[in-house]
Symmetry: C2
Subunit: 341 residues, 2 copies
């Protein structure tokens, strides 16, 4: 653990000169600089970030805040992890490190601001799959804590966000299925009154609107929360006398499970119904039939969020920015013309 002073001694200069070289402040004669650089290399010197941070307040670290659910972190999840990849990639480019945290602590307290208070990070990126408590928003506003939200369009003027145009994609799904002759739709979602999830919310609302505007039929089946009569979505669907032929699922995981369960009951996709999901998870590509879906540019979203955050902490920008991305349709064999019965 070489220190600045040791480098200075070896190079025969004062430690302040080392600081100048390390931080590229100019004002150093080339040959002095050369001596210092040689000493740095020889001692394998790295500036101590803790000490730097104590001076200028910058840790060059951000926290990625993700949901904790069922008493454990929700890392094991394609959506969150792809975002993390984007965050890490852009973070690296900009010289920032990423601290993984969850929104709740062990005891179920909402304390994700802790890492900022402790000065472990300069700012936070939220993966907003859950309602944001307004207490925290007020604190963020009051203290000017740099924050960017992904997926949840936080109302506060202090929080920038990036999101996708789920409404467009959901409307496209309805249109696409209607064009294949489908007249009876089902939407697999969550109980929005219980489980706030902005993605599911936007998708369900847009599906409702699009189906209604075409004058078609729609069953909405909640997956989580309190499922109808204690049954899970596939059971609810299978128990219906008149089954929708066009199923739109709030995400791919739900869709894949749905396909597997109905298949075991002898009700097959795409023979008996068509289905489309969201998020284009890799598992959907491996299904038989392959699952049609809408891809969010998660990698880009993660990268963009970091950019916004860094701009904000460095003062390059201090106004709220909002950014929306389109979703791409990913074709699959799970989409077919309505069965003639």
């Amino acid at each position: 653990m070489a220190t600045q002073k040791e480098v200075a001694d070896l190079a025969g200069v004062s430690f302040i000169t080392v600081s100048r070289v390390v931080n590229n402040l100019g004002n150093v004669r080339p040959e002095t600089k050369g001596k210092v650089e040689r000493a740095i290399r020889e001692l394998n010197y790295y500036p101590n970030r803790q000490a730097q941070a104590l001076n200028n307040g910058l840790t060059h670290t951000l926290a990625l805040v993700t949901p904790r659910m069922f008493d454990r972190p929700l890392f094991n999840n394609f959506y969150v992890m792809t975002l993390l990849s984007g965050v890490e990639m852009r973070g690296r480019e900009l010289g920032w490190d990423v601290l993984m945290t969850t929104d709740f602590d062990q005891e179920g307290e909402f304390d994700f601001l802790r890492v900022w208070h402790q000065r472990k990070v300069d700012g936070l990126v939220f993966v907003g799959l859950r309602r944001f408590p307004s207490d925290q928003i007020r604190e963020i506003e009051a203290k000017g804590i740099p924050c960017v939200s992904i997926s949840d369009r936080i109302g506060s003027s202090a929080v920038s966000w990036v999101d996708t145009r789920n409404d467009e994609a959901a409307a496209d799904a309805v249109r696409r299925l209607a064009a294949l002759g489908h007249r009876h739709f089902a939407y697999l979602g969550v109980d929005l009154t219980q489980d706030y999830n902005p993605n599911f919310r936007d998708r369900e609302l847009a599906v409702r609107a699009a189906v209604a505007s075409l004058g078609l039929e729609l069953d909405v089946i909640a997956t989580s929360g309190v499922p109808t009569a204690g049954m899970e979505a596939p059971q609810v669907y299978l128990s219906m006398a008149r089954k929708a032929t066009a199923v739109i699922s709030g995400n791919d995981s739900v869709a894949i499970e749905f396909m597997a369960t109905t298949a075991r009951a002898g009700w097959l996709c795409p023979r008996d119904y068509s289905i489309v999901g969201f998020d284009a998870e890799p598992a959907g590509r491996l299904c038989v039939p392959t699952l049609a879906s809408y891809r969010q540019p998660l990698l880009e979203m993660g990268q963009s969020a970091v950019k916004l955050l860094v701009d904000q902490t460095t003062g390059a920008r201090n106004t709220k920015i909002t950014e929306t991305f389109p979703l791409d349709f990913v074709a699959g064999d799970s989409l077919a013309p309505v069965p003639q019965s």
Copy 2:
């Protein structure tokens, strides 16, 4: 951002008393302590970790080092993600935060020790899916950098590791399939001369040994590296005149893709062959047929690694510890008696 001094002023004591209260050092009269605690609450004071770290050298942060592949982080991966969950959970319990990093930087340099040199973390947990360069091992030994490896049984006496008994599970798989009458095996792996992965390595070697000891037949098909004649594993298998009826796959992802590809070619599991994978990914549960597999206790492994690391940094233990976990068999419909042909 209240400081210790501000709290002290408000409480009418000196800042050192605040420090004593915060760190529970005793030596403080209860009523003084009460005053200080009230001031802390009122000012919403958090100790500045940077400053603490500058004194005692402890950041209470660990780095989880995971592989970067194909120019991006490999976070989006069931295996890595479940480990991360375990690491985060135990970290929280012990008051440590987790910094996510990758083994290579943007330019392909092996610089995962950077975060330690910069004093951003107190130690490292490696997810060893890749050969560890011996340069780094030497540096770890020389500087006493606290490290724990997951899955790769690092030879150095300075690096503790946790791993699973893949050999046992692989032998069990062979035994199980042989008991179902299978005599011709295939193993789907990677090119071990090109792609070092300790899990795949242990599994392949054990399969080879077990099949040989029973005097049965084995085809080994590499998935990555340079696939035979430019074909991927399923194609290689399908192109064989005499196909193995018992397939053991190095992991579930490969197995799932294998099943999907052969199914499209009309070669069906379990009618035409049986298959078993490793890691018990959730996607395998949703396959038709469901995929038999062996589950590693990844959550526990992650937790255990953190425990070992923390013990090492706090000096509670300074000898190398190694720990192995058993794998659990997870039943699936992909296993059946050998087809009568």
